[in-house]
C-alpha cells in the first residue's frame, strides 16, 4: 500500500508554502526595520522592546486576555449543560436542536453583531426593558458588557457543538457499566461522562478563546472607538498606521501566548486522562 503514501506529497508542499512560510514571514517581518537603499533592512528587536516597555500596550493585552477568559468561562458554563441536554434527547430531536444552533452560524457574524447595536443602544429594547423593571439609565452599548455579550453570542455555538460531538460519540454502555458497578448519577457523570467529554471541552475552549482574544470587529462595533483590544491594535498597525513590522511583532507575541496556553490546556487534559486511567 506504499503507493497511497504519495497522495500526501502535494499537500506537504502546499502546507509548507501556505501554512509554514507565512508564519516564518511574520517572524521575519517582526525582527527587521526598513533601512536605506543599499541595505533594504536590518535586524532589530526594537518592536518587541517597544511593546513590552509601553504600559498602555500591556494593559490592552491584559484586557484582551481577561475578556477572552471571561467569554470562555461563560460559554463553558452555559454550553456544557445545553450540550448535555441535547445529547440526551432522541436522535431526531438532537438533529433538530443542533440544526437550530447551527442555523445562526450560517448568517454572517458581522451582520449578526451589527444587529446587536439596535438592541443594546440606549433607546433599544434591552435598555427600555431594563428601565421598565427599575434599572434606569443603564448604558450597555459601547461598554465592556456589550463586547462581552457580543463575544458570547458569537462563540457559544462553537462550544455547544464541540461538547455535543464528544458527548454523542460516547459509548452509552460505559455509563450503563458504571451504573451496574454501583456508581450513582453524580459519580457516573464526574468519573465517566465528564472525563470522556474532555476532548470536546478542550476543543470548545480553543474555539472560543482563540477568536475572542484576537477579535477586532466585535470591540469595534459594540465597544466603540475607544474600546481597544489587541486585535484592534494589530489591525490599526496594518490598515491605518502602516507599520507592518511592529504589527508583526505584536502578532508573534499573541501567537506565542496562545501556543503556550493551548499547550497547558492540552497537558492538563492528558494528565486528567491518565489519572482517570489509573483510578
Amino acid at each position: 500500500m506504499k503507493k497511497m503514501q504519495q497522495l500526501a506529497l502535494p499537500y506537504l508542499i502546499w502546507s509548507i508554502l501556505m501554512l509554514l512560510l507565512p508564519m516564518l514571514l511574520i517572524v521575519f517581518y517582526s525582527v527587521i526595520t526598513s533601512g536605506n537603499t543599499i541595505i533594504p533592512f536590518r535586524l532589530t528587536l526594537e518592536h518587541y522592546v517597544r511593546f513590552f516597555t509601553d504600559p498602555d500596550f500591556l494593559l490592552i493585552l491584559w484586557r484582551s486576555l481577561s475578556i477572552a477568559l471571561e467569554t470562555t468561562i461563560i460559554c463553558l458554563l452555559l454550553g456544557y449543560p445545553i450540550a448535555y441536554y441535547i445529547a440526551r434527547c432522541d436522535e431526531k430531536r438532537q438533529n433538530l436542536l443542533i440544526l437550530l444552533i447551527t442555523l445562526p452560524m450560517w448568517i454572517n457574524m458581522l451582520v449578526r453583531t451589527n444587529a446587536w447595536i439596535g438592541i443594546l443602544s440606549n433607546d433599544g429594547v434591552l435598555v427600555q426593558f431594563l428601565s421598565l423593571i427599575g434599572f434606569h439609565d443603564v448604558q450597555i452599548l459601547y461598554t465592556r458588557t456589550a463586547v462581552l455579550i457580543g463575544m458570547v453570542y458569537n462563540f457559544l455555538p462553537f462550544m455547544i457543538l464541540q461538547i455535543h460531538t464528544s458527548l454523542s460519540k460516547m459509548d452509552n454502555s460505559l455509563i450503563e457499566a458504571a451504573a451496574d458497578l454501583g456508581a450513582n448519577r453524580a459519580q457516573t457523570f464526574w468519573r465517566v461522562t465528564f472525563p470522556l467529554s474532555m476532548p470536546g471541552v478542550v476543543s470548545g475552549i480553543a474555539l472560543v478563546f482563540l477568536p475572542s482574544v484576537s477579535s477586532f470587529f466585535i470591540p469595534k462595533l459594540l465597544g466603540g472607538g475607544q474600546f481597544f483590544l489587541i486585535g484592534n491594535v494589530i489591525e490599526n498597525q496594518f490598515i491605518t498606521v502602516g507599520e507592518w513590522n511592529f504589527g508583526s511583532a505584536i502578532s508573534v507575541i499573541i501567537a506565542l501566548i496562545m501556543m503556550l496556553l493551548m499547550m497547558l490546556v492540552r497537558k492538563a487534559e492528558k494528565k486528567s486522562a491518565v489519572q482517570e486511567d489509573r483510578s
Binding site: M1, K2, K3, M4, Q5, L7, A8, L9, P10, Y11, L12, W14, S15, L19, L20, L21, L25, I26, Y29, L59, P81, I82, Y84, Y85, I86, R88, L100, I101, T102, W106, M109, L110, R112, N114, A115, I119, D123, G124, V125, Y153, L156, P157, R185, A186, L210, F216, F217, G224, G225, Q226, F228, E235, F238, T240, V241, G242, W244, A255, M258, M259
Partner: protein, 629 residues
Amino acid sequence: MNEKRRFSGRTLLVLSLLFFYLPILFMIIFSFNDSKSLTHFTGFSLRWYDAMLKNHSMMESLYITIIIAVLATIISTLIGTLTAIGLSQSGKRMRRFISQVNDFPLMNPDIVTAIGLMLLFITFQIEKGFLTLLLAHIAFCIPYVMLSVMPKVRSLDPNLADAALDLGATPMQAITKVIVPEIMPGIVSGALIAFTMSFDDFIISYFVTGKGIKNLSIMVYTMSKRVNPSVNAISTVVVVLVTILLIVINVIPVIREKHKGDRIESRSSRGWKIGGICALAAAVLISYFGIHQSSSLPYAGQTLRIYMPGEYIDNDVVSEFEAQTGAKVVIDNFDSNEQMYIKVANGEQYDLLIPSDYMIQRLKDEGRLEKLDRSKVKKTLKKMNPYILDVAYDPGNVYSVPYFWGSVGIVYDKTKVDREDLEKEGYNIFLDTKYKSDIYLYDSERDSFMMALKALGYSMNTESHEELTKAYDWLKQCVETMDPEIVTDEIIDNMAQGRKALGLIYSGDATYIMSENKNMGFYMPKSGTNIWVDAMVIPKGASNKDLAYAFMNYINSYEAAEANSLYVGYTSPNQKVEKYLSTHDFKGINAYTPRTDYAADEVFEYNDKTRKEIADLWSDVKIAASNAD
C-alpha cells in the same frame, strides 16, 4: 437529580436559542422598516430591498461569498480527504510534520493567520484579489477537513485497501469504491465545517483580498458605521436562502427514509446536502450572470472602480449613471484617508479615488496621480464655487475635480447646551466638565488635532513640536476627564437621535442631523476651523480613464449633484445646487453653507514631518482613552 439537570439544561437551551435568534429577528423586522431607524418601527416598506437590489457592490459581495465558499469547500474537501488517506500510510515523521503545520491555522488566532497570508502574497507580489482570497480560504479549510476525516481513516482496517487491490481493483478504485464510502461521514462533516468556516469568514478575507473583491463580511465592515438598513435586507435574504436549503436537505432524507432502511440511507442523504449546496450556488451563479447582460450603451460591459468614504453617495445616482452609460460601478469604501493611502500605495488598482485635500497633495507629490485632461472637465469646473477651486493642495486643479466640501464644527443639542458656553469657550467646551460623558470625539487624527490646536490658538498646520505636544496634552486631558465616546460615522445617527449633547462633526453630517432633528444646532468656533474639499482624482495606472471622466462630469451635473447632496447632506461644489438647496430643502440649516473668507479658517496641508508624529500621538490618545475606565 437527573430531572433537575434536564430541566435546567432545557431552560438554558430555550434561553440560548432566544439569545441566538433575537438579533436575527430584529434584523428581519427592521429590514421592512419604513424609516432608517434601527430602534423604532415606523411602518412596513420594501424600500431597503429595492435599495439592496440596486446596489451592485452589495449583490456582488453575496455572490462572492457563496462562490468562494463553494469552491473552497470542494477543493479543500478533495485535497484534505486524499491527503488524509495518504497520510494514514505514511511514516511517522511525515504525519507529525503535517499535523503540526495544520495546527497553525487551527491554533493561531485568525488575525495571525490572516497577516501571515497577507505578508506571503505581498512578499511574492501576488496581486491580491479573487485568487488570493480563494487560496487563503482553501488554506484554512483543509486542516478542518482533515481534522474530521483523519479519525475515520485511522479507524479503517488497514487491510481493507490491500484486500481491494488484491482482488484486482486499481488504486483509484480502491479509494473511490472502498475507502471513501467507509469514511463518508467524516468527509461530509468536514465539508460542512469548511463551508461554514468559509461562508462566515471575515478576518482572513479582510486582510488577503483586493481589487474590490469583497465578501459579505467585508462589505458590512467597511460600509461605514452609518446605519444602512439594506444590510438587514440582504441578511434577511441570506437567512431565507439558508433556511430553505437546510429544510430541503433535512426533509428529503426524512421522506426517503420512509421507503428504505436508515443507516445506509443517512449516508446518501448527506450527499444530498452537498448536492443542495452546489445547486444553490449554481442558481446564484446563473441568476448573477443573467442580470449582467450587455447592451448597446456607450460604456456597456465596462467597469468603473471607485474608492471613496462610506455612505458618501446616493445609490440611485449611481444606478442612474449605470443606466445611462451601460457601465457597472464598483464602489469600495474606506474609513480614513490614511487607510486609503496604504491600500493604494500597495498597488491596489482603481479608476477613481475620492480622498481629501491634504491626501490629494500627498498622492500628487509622490507621483501617484494622473494629470487630468483639461478639455474633458472644463465645463464641469466652470459650474463650481470658485472658493474651492485652485486651492493650495492642487493649484489650478491639475489633478482633481471637487466632489463635496465643507467645514468642521460642533454639533450640539439646543435643549442641553447653553449657546453662551459655546460662544465663550469654543472648542474648550470639550474640556468643560459640565458636559462630562455627554460628548463625542471624532476618530480622526487630523480633525482632533485641528480642534486641539485651534483651541490653543495655534495654526492647524503647525510644525512646532512644542505646539503639537500641547495639543496632545489638551486631547489627553479631554479623554481622561470628560469620558468621551470616540466615534466615526455612528455619530450621525446618534446625534440625530439626540443621544449626547455635543460632538465634533463635519458640516455635511451636521446638515443631515439638523434636517432629521430640529433640536440640533451647528456652531463654528471663532478660533477658526478646517475648510476641506474632498475631490475626485484618477490614480496612475487606472484602466478606465474615460469612464472616470464621464463620472466626474455626471456627478457634478445639476440633477445628479442635487440628488447626491440632498441624500448625503454635504455641500455640493456645484454653485447652483448649493444655492438652491440652501434656500429650499436645507433652508435655515447653517451647516450646509460653510463659512468662507474667514481669516482664522485654514485648509489642511500635507506635511510629511508631522504626519507620523500626529498619527502616533493620536494612537496614544486613543489608547489612553481606552485605558481611562
